[in-house]
């Protein structure tokens, strides 16, 4: 409680920090396992993730991870080009799925590369904050929470991927007699990998390549949301520690120097939020945009009747999963904004003898400053945004439904063509 906090980090001391029970819940350690998983798929190629502290993080262009990341980025970009080529035969909503999916994935890889450059600095700032607020301790069981959420989201994604493959395979099996024909039909005609086989010939190697690319792309698509959720969770926990302490002193008479320290700590937290926002706001924007698109797309798909148990199961799961991801992401990110407003309640209760310069300054800062993640400053992620998003989806759905009924009357397309494209 006394004001013995660091103003500048002591590098020598940092290097001797070892992993112990206390700081296994520090952000750097808690998120290391998730980042290592992501690095297997070429995302966030930073070196030194499993190091003892944030000072061991660094990014190099000529490291294996960075090269791997660039390689996958080029692959995704190539897929996007193929999908664009496929669209030349006529722009329709179904064809655009491929472009949007691979476009999103390509952009995601680019943005994570950019984030990798900024990651060491961001983590150093985060660690400095954690050290300067050491008297609050570390968030309880943060590493456990992170692991649970990561497992849940990635398992859901895996289930979805498996369901998609099996639903397509059943469709292909219904159309052909033997195994080789079935695979051939599956790859070239069921609408998932159209873009590759429109440009290249079918063969075992290209088919395997396509499968791998799709798997990696799906992971990247899901990981974006997961990453934002985990980062928001960690930041919210830090605000929560600060708020918990303030709430315990509600209504008490405290000296001005105490409030000065609390205000400075709050300011550090809000500065960290701003830094974090400047690093990940593009990723947030891409995530929201692609989720909005795919939710609308899935709702549109729901209008055509589905045959077969697997297909129905697949559709329900994938639509539910996208919805779940978007809602979870919005709620976790909005909780940063909500937590940042909580000190207000304590400050309003400060007894009049203490309400002087610092408390007044603290209160006006909380009231006027918006501490939240944003999508490139276009919007701030708050609970209101979720409502706005829902309203937007409903509006576009109504219009799309009308459009769809106009086009379907004039065409004889089967259900298979209006399937979700990107899996």
């Amino acid at each position: 409680m006394t004001g013995g906090f660091f103003k500048e980090c002591d590098l020598a001391m940092m290097n001797t920090v070892t992993l112990n029970e206390e700081n296994v819940n520090s952000f750097h350690h808690a998120i290391s396992s998730v980042i290592v998983t992501a690095q297997c798929f070429g995302l966030l190629p930073v070196l030194g993730v499993t190091g003892p502290n944030a000072a061991s993080l660094r990014f190099q262009w000529n490291s294996f991870r960075a090269v791997f990341s660039i390689f996958i980025l080029l692959g995704a970009g190539l897929n996007m080009c193929f999908a664009v080529v496929l669209m030349q035969s006529g722009i329709s909503f179904e064809q655009s799925d491929g472009v949007v999916f691979f476009g999103t994935v390509t952009t995601t890889y680019m943005l994570f590369l950019q984030l990798a450059k900024q990651w060491p600095n961001l983590m150093v700032e985060w660690e400095n904050l954690e050290l300067s607020q050491k008297h609050y301790g570390y968030p309880r069981r943060l590493h456990l929470k992170i692991k649970i959420i990561a497992t849940a989201v990635l398992t859901g994604a895996l289930v979805e991927h498996a369901l998609s493959k099996s639903s397509r395979i059943t469709v292909a099996a219904a159309h052909t007699d033997n195994i080789t024909d079935m695979f051939h039909h599956y790859f070239t005609k069921t609408g998932t990998y159209n873009q590759m086989f429109a440009v290249m010939d079918y063969s075992f190697t290209t088919a395997t390549l396509t499968l791998i690319t799709n798997f990696i792309a799906t992971f990247a698509w899901n990981f974006t949301d997961l990453f934002i959720i985990l980062v928001s969770l960690a930041l919210t926990e830090r605000f929560h520690l600060f708020n918990q302490y303030l709430v315990s002193l509600r209504g008490k008479f405290l000296p001005e120097s105490f409030w000065a320290q609390r205000r400075e700590e709050y300011n550090n937290l809000s500065h960290l939020t701003r830094t974090l926002d400047s690093c990940i706001s593009k990723i947030v924007l891409v995530s929201f945009g692609s989720n909005l698109y795919f939710i609308c797309r899935q709702l549109l798909n729901s209008l055509s009747p589905l045959d077969g148990v697997i297909n129905t199961l697949y559709f329900c799961w994938s639509f539910g999963f996208v919805l779940f991801r978007t809602v979870t992401l919005s709620l976790y990110a909005a909780s940063i904004y909500d937590e940042s407003l909580l000190p207000k309640r304590v400050l309003y209760d400060v007894p009049p003898e203490s309400y002087r310069g610092e408390v007044s300054r603290f209160l006006s800062q909380i009231v006027t400053d918006t501490v939240a993640l944003s999508g490139m400053n276009f919007f701030h992620i708050t609970r209101t945004l979720l409502l706005t998003l829902a309203g937007t989806i409903v509006t576009y759905e109504i219009v799309l439904v009308q459009l769809n009924s106009i086009t379907i009357i004039g065409s004889n397309t089967t259900n298979n063509m209006t399937r979700k494209f990107y899996e």
């Binding site: 300011n267 701003r274 459009l403």
Partner: protein, 405 residues
């Protein structure tokens, strides 16, 4: 004086001089270093040129409106030519009005520049950026106009009998509507072409102008912010904070002055961009027949999108950078927090510093999102309409050529 070329007057000079070739901003003395060289006189050749241009555009407008009135039914695309000429007519009028107040505005700007000169200097590389923007806009507009001419030529060739008759066929097919009302004559067609070219240029000039003025404002705020960031977290004397607050006040006043002068231009710009983007998106849904048609369409649409988005983002940046001092102010240490800092924080947090569109809308990033949402909504509605009415490919091509020129 080194770096004086980065002052507002000098940096914007290439763009304004280019505009004057097309009868916009008829102020004399643009190339001077000081605001006192600027002069506006009603009885000058530049103003006469502007009036001639106004007359020409007005003729085009009358012809288009007449065509619209006598048509059987009014479609979305058929409204495009009258709207195009109406927009450019209004823009030329606005620029004329702005020209009467330009010397005053630049001298106010120069006063603020002089106060910032000692500590902050001029913005770096601003002149180079302005030159690049002006050159880019001129080139892109010329290329677009030439492409439109070429597509018109392709349409005219089958109708001509060869030789010099190509010229007659070309003009009669381009200004079909005008030559229904009067007889064909070469001098008439040359005048019509000149005013058409002026209108096309004005249309793209508007966006670039707003972009550059917003950039100039943003640069001044950024300079101020840099100076402030140097003392983040450190103790600074009362005098420093008082001067910083006064400078911020001056910058806010300058923004308000600039806004008063150009807000109607900004609104006109936004509205016309919105309309033409929707029109172009609508056109894209019909099949384009030839390869050249494809190239022309994508080029003109891409250019329009680029202009509109650069204008929106640069104008929204003014609001963004005006909020940057907050970060430094919140971090002022407890020992040095005084009345001046408090006053400064109050100013930054409660006053909205931004460009507006005729005070109806505030240009910030939230607005851009709203605009994109509106465009998507209007597009979907238009597509439904289009599905209901069938195709008007011939009329659309004509309308596209007229409006995109």
């Amino acid at each position: 004086m080194s770096g004086a070329n980065n002052s507002f007057q000098r940096a914007l000079c290439p763009l304004l001089v280019a505009g004057q070739c097309f009868a916009l901003m008829p102020v004399s003395g643009l190339t001077g270093y000081d605001a006192s060289t600027l002069q506006f006189r009603w009885l000058s050749p530049r103003v006469a040129y502007t009036f001639l241009s106004l007359v020409g555009i007005f003729c085009h407008l009358c012809v288009c409106v007449r065509e619209l009135v006598v048509a059987d039914h009014i479609t979305y695309s058929a409204c495009a030519p009258p709207i195009f000429f109406a927009v450019t007519f209004l823009a030329t009028c606005f620029y004329l009005r702005l020209a009467t107040k330009w010397p005053d505005l630049v001298s106010k700007w120069q006063t603020v520049e002089q106060t910032m000169l000692k500590d902050y200097g001029y913005p770096r590389n601003f002149e180079r950026r302005c030159k690049f923007c002006a050159a880019f806009m001129l080139t892109a507009s010329t290329v677009e106009h030439l492409m439109a001419l070429y597509s018109c030529l392709l349409r005219a060739l089958p109708r001509s009998t060869g030789g010099l008759d190509v010229v007659r066929a070309f003009y009669t097919s381009w200004f079909e509507q005008a030559f229904k009302m009067t007889e064909y004559a070469l001098w008439k067609s040359l005048l019509l072409q000149l005013s058409n070219f002026l209108a096309t240029f004005t249309w793209s000039y508007m966006d670039m102008y707003v972009t550059l003025v917003s950039m100039a404002l943003t640069e001044k705020f950024l300079q101020f912010g840099e100076g402030l960031r140097a003392v983040r977290g450190k103790a600074a004397p009362l005098k420093f904070w008082r001067e910083a607050r006064q400078l911020y006040d001056n910058l806010c006043c300058l923004t308000r002055t600039v806004d008063e002068h150009i807000s109607h231009l900004v609104l006109l710009c936004l509205a016309s961009d919105l309309y033409f983007i929707c029109l172009q998106l609508f056109n894209s849904l019909k099949n384009v027949k030839t390869l050249y048609g494809y190239i022309y369409f994508f080029y003109s649409f891409g250019y329009l999108l680029f202009r509109a988005s650069s204008m929106c983002f640069c104008a929204a940046a003014v609001n963004e950078v005006s909020q940057k001092p907050r970060d430094v102010l919140y971090a002022v240490p407890a020992g040095t927090y005084n009345a001046e800092v408090e006053r400064f924080i109050d100013r930054v947090t409660t006053d909205e510093v931004a460009l507006t569109g005729f005070r109806l809308i505030t240009l910030n990033r939230r607005l851009i999102l709203t605009i994109v949402g509106s465009i998507v909504t209007y597009e979907l509605l238009l597509v439904q309409q289009g599905n209901g009415q069938g195709s008007f490919s011939e009329e659309l091509e004509y309308a596209a050529n007229i409006t995109i020129m």
